[in-house]
Symmetry: C2
Subunit: 429 residues, 2 copies
Amino acid sequence: MNNKRQSMTATEALERIADKSMSGSEYLASCFDRIHQREGKVQAWESLADTQGGLPGGGLLQNIPVGIKDIYDTRDFPTSWGTGYIRSDRSVSDASPVALLKNAGAFVMGKTVSTEFAYFSPGKTRNPYDLDRTPGGSSSGSAAAVADGMVPIALGTQTAGSITRPASYCNVIGFKPTYGLISRAGIRPFSETLDTVGYFARSVNDIALVHAALTYQPHAPLTRLDLAGLKIGVLRVPADGDLDQDVEAALGRTCQRLSAEGAEITSSLSHARELDRLVELQTLVMAFESSRCLADIYFQHVDDMSDKLREILERGFAITLDEYCGALQEAKRLQHSVATLFTEVDLLLSPSSVNVAPLASGISTGDPLYSRAWTLLGLPTISLPIESGHQGMPVGMQFIAPRYRDSVLLKYSHELLSRLETYPGTLDE
Amino acid sequence: MNNKRQSMTATEALERIADKSMSGSEYLASCFDRIHQREGKVQAWESLADTQGGLPGGGLLQNIPVGIKDIYDTRDFPTSWGTGYIRSDRSVSDASPVALLKNAGAFVMGKTVSTEFAYFSPGKTRNPYDLDRTPGGSSSGSAAAVADGMVPIALGTQTAGSITRPASYCNVIGFKPTYGLISRAGIRPFSETLDTVGYFARSVNDIALVHAALTYQPHAPLTRLDLAGLKIGVLRVPADGDLDQDVEAALGRTCQRLSAEGAEITSSLSHARELDRLVELQTLVMAFESSRCLADIYFQHVDDMSDKLREILERGFAITLDEYCGALQEAKRLQHSVATLFTEVDLLLSPSSVNVAPLASGISTGDPLYSRAWTLLGLPTISLPIESGHQGMPVGMQFIAPRYRDSVLLKYSHELLSRLETYPGTLDE
């Protein structure tokens, strides 16, 4: 019974609270129990709430505990941006996504572990499916907390692959909405052209609930969509990037399963090859902007920061304004190629990550390669937990939709997850 | 002598410090003197530095005092965002533009008055050319402090017309670079699609110095450009907006003076009329995004805020996600019309404001009408202090360039200001 509650989705919990087979405070208490039981091993949290009671009100996410990546400002918790050398006390206001979740009735369970300023240098968190492995990053604690059943929902951010990769490694859904739809007010920027709020959950309906709360729109339960005739283009950007064989095999199985459901799979797409360039452009834009966004951190803390962070900031400072503007203009031209590509298919499919979660190394949380292009283009993406690879570890498959087609992507994802068998998984406990 | 120093530009001061005819600390002291003499009337400052000494080092802006709008985070000053109901202590890090100015040697003189959250509700600042009038907003204190000779340079932000309009009303240069070029990290957002860092100064070379510091690029002194054959399109967006007759006359005089310098002036531009729609789109995007950006402020302080602010936030919350996405897509299509328009002309010319500074009313800082379109399009604009209108008050003329042509716009502006007689002006003292 307790075990059942721990892996309950927000949607299931809300149904049970509504039909009075469970109270809101019972549900919250079960999540706190799970955290107390597992946090010593998973280490997903920077700070935790100390209240365990239920909450008044009646919003969309009433009584639902959520985790917030520790780069969001919060009135109730300090923020340390994944660093040991800079820390802010409670903020005068909540970051907008936090305020909007709280307004919908959600209970902020605490702040989850981020890599250093949401870049590459890992925090303490481990992968709940194998405690010797990384959960991915930079939204490490958010993905791990949802994967482990500590909370049904958590917020992260993506600048390169910080939603998609941890979702892939931790066997959860990771949704990155269209660039700009969700306000980033109160989240420390790393790259203003790229930074995007994203969310983790264990059901697409939970993702849709969060999306409704964060866009301040009414929630409509996800309707069913027919997969027959759905045109899916298989696309890896870059085309010749290093991809582990086990993940390539998982991609092949996914295509077969989609075909069996009636979807039309194609891998010969026009203009696809020119998109390779997006990876370099994203890398350049991220380096240039991070150096400007973290200028004060660099000037004050260059001796405190990790080598990885120092390297990208110094690389960024060395990029000229002309190179940067040129990259943005080239990216804009490639947006047109992608628009053309979406006249041929409804969705694109790519592996979420180049591998399953690697062993925790203390210096990396894995490679964001297959997310860079979509982040630069600002397209909505979702990583679905439907596959496994090396040593039975989970790996996600990433579906990509045109700009502003977020709702359609969620509807198809809901249908896909209800039709395709998901990775059964066994937590490392 | 002292009077001369007060109106010195940064470029002039740097020259005199370099040739040792003045020390850095003498210059700083003269700016402090001017503030102490005039602040009781102009009221440009929220907080002031207490150091008066010179500074070590040798950066691009060494010893140059700057004003910072009170919506930028600062390690040395509190921030209150133009409100009486929310205030943050010193921040753990400086906003990026502040860090980059300090890194170039600038001395932060203090925080300048902003309207409430950089929206419409006025602060205490008065127009230095007529103390009964508004300085414009939202960057009220920054424009007034530069106009009054308290500092040579100040930073503001523009979401609708908050650089261009106060520059126009206060007889200073107001430059808004291409959207996205200058990091906004550490500046509280009002509308992420629109918010743009901008700067005030009394010489284009000073603007270029700030631009070099904020983009972390070397500074190249502005070269001369021939005005003969320069194609300038006269364009008011919206075409039939309310424009005071004195400003219309000033626009006419500007066209004649430009013609006399050899520029080719045209007012029949293709696609111009369809740009009118940008005004509505900018208004919609600003309302939608402000409600999300200030969500926590609304939920916590709805009873404290001005009616104007409450109204835009509530209007924003009522806009649907579909309307918002539609507006962004329509704006993107209109960017193509503007690109076409720039194949016909080098620069566009518009009045900076619909009027000269109105009398201070306590409820408004004037109308941003003629800036809305350019802010939504993200184009670089500069307001030049070259005209006057009703009762001899100053009024600016706004020049607009294609995206990323910031340097070209500054070069032409430098040439224009060295060729056209500027408004002589008399401060109200």
